[in-house]
Subunit: 337 residues, 2 copies
DNA sequence: TTTATTTACGAAACCGGTTTCGTAGATTTA
DNA sequence: TAAATCTACGAAACCGGTTTCGTAAATAAA
């Protein structure tokens, strides 16, 4: 099949390629009659402009990158839906890159973008990321970055977050109000700011009710499920084990339920659980799982909109931070005994 | 920050841009000493070649498209991991497009590719897709396509499938062997070939054991969970309801468990369930869920490798079809009463 | 009627690498 | 020593749109 480019199209119409180009872009320089002719012929020959030629000349690719730790996580997959919804309307394309929670991978990915492959970046940092040099460098190339969910707080970048501190507080308070006195916190990592916030909120609630947040009851989980299993098991095998758990990561749901089964702990009678999770199946677990549900779709959508605003050179407030609240969905795993 | 292009780099070195280009591409025309100098200076100035210029000239973008119905499904999110793993090593980038099960969306997406934005396409068709014209057209533009999981069988394209027929058979036989006599089948759609195959396998097993596959016990589900809920509820409220269910879609797990809870049906005593699913949480459901687990990661990886072979003009057998078997993972939801 | 302006279009430069082709100088072969 | 070949590099064409600039013809203003 012969590729029909703008020259071929122009030739067919006895016009110059500049005229055709302008006609297709609806320039005021071209008469209505000519535009009509061009449009019709373009449709008939199935002309599609070469994306690279346009990008090369226009310095715009209509591609945006989404950098996330993984896609097999309901928060991120829902966020992608939101991003896609926002971006599709404006004709942008979404490139997805996975860091697998590796800082090295994250840096390597961002280096690729110096070549102008994408116009902007949406990202949720890896659990290993503490330094933002790679992000600063990208921004120095005039490629805007917007964080969603997991951000590096010190960077002067737009961010879309949820109320992690408050959610941690709410989760812990809910457990307290339902009778828990020894509440454990399962963090995602030592480095992630959102994990810190959730824990701080949790600690605040405990303090407010005069409860102790002991070191033993605050665990930082890993990327390895087997290790997490052992950590949680050890936690629940203490002499006076916790009677409530705030788990700050969706992946930990399975772990906690498994450990409870293994140790023959009844939930919610022996231990109650609140998990930060967007899993649909929370309702059919036994007991059904009380969750802090993040507005994943909205966060993705909002982050994308913020990025698009920057790409369209709209007035951008430096380091705008949007907070969309999460929701405590009460189910049976925290039911008062 | 000034963009350092090849001309700037050449000037800095007192060389021509052609020489620099060749040096960077390790051409035999350039002396080792010069290559060394160029490489060093390129590193020092942080030179990164413009992706569009290369693509425009070379007719290659190093982008591949992944077209899937949705990303919030563990099969697809795991498959993406596999694709990404295969593709990263070769320096390709992954563009993800979601059809949301809409044929119109799928066609529109593929039209975008005429512009050469991607070198090849990996796809799982939408549930509405029965006609392959949009795919043929793309292939006519010399853009190779590889199907994974959900394929249009009549197209002469490489495919990576799992043994759907056999899995349907295995699932049903497993139920029969564990005492079920009235086994229902929940299909994904009337049109998807994989759904047909699974059902055909299911029917084969029933026939083999002299059981009837009644029309009432074969449901075709929709994209709307509420509708599915009603369908399944109706199914289980029959005068003589099924005592076993083969569900061919992960999304139906939640539905079936919910209906059983609502109708106070005990699983596996009253009804046993096998579900095609890659959900990690199958183990912690009550009862834990017997699944047909698809090799999602491997299928994605294999499909990507097949595509890469075509992109590298390696010998390609016309319409190669790779089948990777699924696995029956027996848990409590099918336990003999 | 003459001048000024508008309309509609084409020639050519441009984006930034890549590749073809030509060639000066060095080296090898006859 | 002359002819043939090789080595290492540069000039320029090229990929395919986009945009600037120039201009003939048509129209409006003086």
């Amino acid at each position: 099949m012969k590729k029909v480019n703008i020259k071929a199209l122009a030739q067919e119409l006895n016009l110059s390629s500049s005229t055709v180009s302008k006609a297709l872009r609806d320039s005021y320089e071209i008469s209505a009659a000519t535009k009509q002719r061009v449009l019709e012929m373009a449709a008939r020959l199935q002309y599609t402009p070469n994306a690279y030629a346009s990008s090369l000349r226009g310095k715009k690719s209509k591609n945006i990158a989404v950098i996330i730790p993984e896609v097999a996580d309901s928060f991120f997959s829902l966020a992608i839906n939101g991003i896609e919804a926002a971006v599709k309307a404006k004709g942008y394309h979404v490139l997805i890159y996975l860091t697998h929670e590796s800082f090295a991978a994250e840096s390597a990915i961002m280096k690729e973008f110096y070549s102008g492959r994408v116009d902007g970046v949406l990202m949720s940092v890896s659990r290993e990321t503490t330094d933002g040099q790679h992000i600063r460098q990208l921004m120095a190339q005039d490629i805007p970055v917007v964080f969603f969910d997991r951000a590096l707080e010190e960077l002067p970048v737009a961010k879309v977050l949820t109320d992690d501190y408050h959610s941690g507080y709410t989760a812990a308070r809910h457990l307290i109000q339902n009778g828990c006195r020894r509440i454990a916190f399962l963090g995602m990592s030592e480095t992630l700011s959102i994990s810190h916030h959730r824990r701080a909120g949790y600690q605040h609630a405990l303090q407010e009710y005069g409860l102790a947040a002991t070191r033993k009851n605050m665990i930082s989980c890993t990327a390895d499920p087997a290790v997490n299993y052992k950590l949680v098991k050890k936690l629940l095998q203490q002499a006076t084990p916790p009677d409530g758990i705030v788990a700050s990561m969706e992946k930990l749901t399975t772990t906690v339920y498994q450990v409870c089964q293994a140790l023959q702990l009844r939930m919610p009678a022996d231990v109650k659980l609140v998990c930060f999770s967007n899993l649909e199946i929370a309702t059919i677990l036994q007991p059904s799982l009380t969750t802090i549900t993040q507005p994943a779709f909205e966060m993705g959508k909002t982050a994308a909109e913020l990025l698009l605003r920057q790409l369209e050179k709209k007035p951008v407030r430096q380091a705008e931070a949007v907070v969309i609240p999460s929701e405590l969905v009460i189910r049976d795993s925290t039911k008062k005994s």
